[in-house]
């Protein structure tokens, strides 16, 4: 059978945010290198920022914040479980990256003196930099890719990584989503930039593609890194976001907060001091949502007309531009009604929480030659700017790695086994429909893994997931597009099992709602002040183990540790 073989030096998988930056920086570091960017969709409009972004959530701008302050803030926001070295590498590179993006033509809000107009949303520091014209960011990236001569292959779906006999990364298998042709890309080094696992939980609407994350981000990278033997970390620290009810757009207290908008209960009262997304914030949100003063709303109807017009301009033009027509359909006008909110389905995403592939401060995973960056890589609360920074760090390090190592050999048997696995659904055109398996799996994820987490439920969930994994052997595809969905489904299956096993392993509660275990309701620092790592062992079993938290480089004072635990506004008891 014919296999298309491509050989490159640096292979970047995923053309959203971190991926283009990694490819550009590898090529800048050494223009002689052959750098290939693989994208499932089209680089022009792919990934989490396909329609742009309305701001930076974590800009460390001199005069407003220092890297040390930022590291402290994220350490506290993530309940102490961080590798401060990776957060510091982000923080130090944050401002140079803003300046570089600015020089490329990305527009950030500036004040009348030309300084960046940074705003306060976090509990302690000041890190939010609006981008009212952020809708063009993908175009800017695309121009840079062309300028540097990065090769781009759209519509190629990476499925499994290959290693050589020494255990170094040697390339990937990929399938063309338009033709179902099987490809092998040989590479000295691979940078995974495949985004979040956003198709894990099922949105309350039951609509498979109504997810918070771009649904192309199905967890492919989590699955590929796992099967390559890389360590993953903090998988039990789920991503759960406050969203507009029935619409996948964030409530956007980040955007509206500096203008006076806030998260309110049904009485229109504030109940949290800070709208920055953290596990504790989500737990307070959940309690209010389920409590007698619920549900929860975004309150803007006390603001002046010109302020609301400005908010509409930002929220309806960027990131989620269909938001305006959703509100129009429901008869919601920011001037008159508060906007009903809800919590999102669960996902894995280090950009928002901490669940990702373990990396060091250069983006290196635990597999030699394999890097990860962006939402996929475990650098807590990293967001879009973190994806750019870690794309850069990984791209530069990967370019240096290429000078040291030769291309590894891929065993023919590995290639054949993967070809057989990935193309099998095409031989069963009348097989089980992939969309039904996916619906059932993701509904079970909601039933058994959505916090509050319950031990016995998660154990039952694991049994159900295993049954669906059995059914997967009967899944069918009648064309290349349906085959693509089966490939994504196999990644979702892996992610569901990882989410359950990591959650069961950590026998305490931490990160507010993200890992709220009803049968272990307290945080237990004595036994669990550690990272929970997850890995495929040499027998092919999924195992979890603890990894010590590296000594802090920015120490915390005792009175700073619980800043995020005191989010709920204290009210005098009414007589």
């Amino acid at each position: 059978m014919q296999t298309n073989i491509i050989t490159v030096d640096v292979l970047v998988i995923g053309g959203g945010t971190a991926g283009p930056m990694a490819a550009i920086k590898a090529k800048e570091a050494n223009p002689q290198l052959r750098v290939l960017l693989l994208e499932k969709a089209h680089v022009k409009r792919s990934g989490a920022i396909s329609m742009g972004m309305d701001g930076l959530n974590n800009a460390v701008v001199p005069g407003h914040a220092t890297p040390e302050q930022y590291v402290k803030e994220i350490t506290v926001a993530n309940d102490g479980i961080v590798n401060q070295h990776t957060v510091m590498a982000y923080a130090r590179n944050s401002f140079p990256m803003i300046e570089e993006l600015d020089s490329w033509g990305v527009k950030f809000e500036k004040d009348e003196t030309g300084d960046y107009a940074v705003r306060k949303v976090h509990h302690v520091g000041t890190y939010v930099l609006p981008m009212p014209e952020g809708h063009d960011i993908k175009k800017v990236l695309y121009r840079r890719l062309r300028k540097h001569g990065v090769e781009i292959s759209n519509r190629l779906v990476a499925t499994r990584l290959f290693k050589d006999a020494q255990g170094r990364i040697a390339g990937t298998a990929a399938v063309d989503s338009r033709t179902a042709e099987f490809h092998v890309v040989r590479a000295k080094t691979v940078i995974l930039c495949t985004g979040a696992a956003g198709r894990l939980g099922l949105p309350a609407s039951g609509y498979l593609f109504g997810t918070y994350e771009n649904p192309t981000n199905a967890g492919d990278g989590y699955s590929m890194a796992y099967h390559a033997g890389a360590e993953l970390s903090g998988i039990e620290c789920f991503q759960i976001n406050p969203l507009i009810k029935d619409y996948n757009g964030p409530s956007c207290a980040y955007v509206t907060g500096p203008f006076g908008g806030f998260t309110a209960n049904s009485k229109g009262e504030r109940f949290i001091e800070c709208d920055y997304w953290s596990g504790q914030m989500m737990l307070e949100f959940y309690r209010e949502l389920e409590g007698g003063k619920g549900p929860v709303f975004l309150k803007l109807n006390h603001l002046a007309e010109e302020t609301i017009e400005k908010i509409e301009d930002i929220l309806h033009g960027n990131e989620r531009p269909s938001r305006g027509r959703f509100h129009a359909g429901r008869g919601t006008n920011y001037r008159q009604q508060m906007v009903e909110m809800h919590i999102s389905e669960i996902g894995l995403c280090s950009g928002h929480s901490a669940s990702g592939v373990w990396v060091d401060e250069h983006g290196r995973t635990t597999v030699p030659g394999l890097y990860a960056a962006g939402d996929l890589a475990c650098v807590p609360h990293n967001y879009m700017l973190g994806a750019f920074v870690y794309g850069k760090l990984a791209g530069e390090d990967a370019a240096a790695y290429c000078a040291e190592y030769e291309q590894g050999e891929i065993a023919e048997a590995d290639i054949e086994a993967e070809r057989e696995r990935v193309l099998a659904p095409l031989s069963r055109p009348d097989g089980l429909p992939s969309n039904q398996l996916e619906y059932k799996l993701r509904r079970m994820v909601n039933d058994y893994l959505q916090p509050p987490k319950v031990t016995r439920k998660m154990e039952i969930g694991l049994s159900r997931f295993a049954e669906i994994a059995e059914d997967y052997q009967q899944v069918g595809a009648r064309n290349p597009h349906e085959l693509l969905r089966t490939i994504e489904l196999s990644a979702i299956l892996d992610c569901a099992e990882m989410a359950a096993r990591a959650s069961l392993y950590r026998e305490e509660s931490r990160w507010g709602l993200y890992h709220y275990r009803v049968d272990f309701p307290d945080t237990n620092n004595e036994d669990w002040f550690a990272h929970v790592q997850l890995q495929k062992d040499e027998n092919g079993s999924m195992v979890c183990f603890k990894r010590e938290v590296a000594p802090y480089i920015v120490p915390l004072h005792d009175n700073e540790r619980d800043a995020y635990a005191r989010l709920r506004i204290k009210r005098e008891e009414q007589p």
Partner: protein, 77 residues
């Protein structure tokens, strides 16, 4: 296995009179992150083929002739 086909209202509305896919344009097909649009072989016009729309709007915004309108999927409306 026997398969049934259940109807579903699709949120991407394409004005065939305006669409210039028959003149070689494939922009909407290329920019859709979910790859759910195709040029229909019979009509030569763009069409939505899969009920997998994320209502993210690149197709609508990048269409050079304004032939596309994306609605919020009925289940979410």
């Amino acid at each position: 296995m026997t398969l049934a086909y259940t109807p579903s209202s699709l949120p991407v509305i394409i004005d065939a009179d305006k669409c210039i896919a028959d003149k070689g344009c494939t922009i909407c097909v290329e920019v859709c992150p979910l790859d759910i649009l195709e040029i229909d072989a019979a009509s030569g016009k763009a069409a939505i083929k899969y009920d997998e729309c994320w209502y993210c709007l690149p197709c609508e915004q990048d269409c050079p002739v304004g032939a596309i309108r994306v609605e919020i999927p009925y289940l979410l409306r």
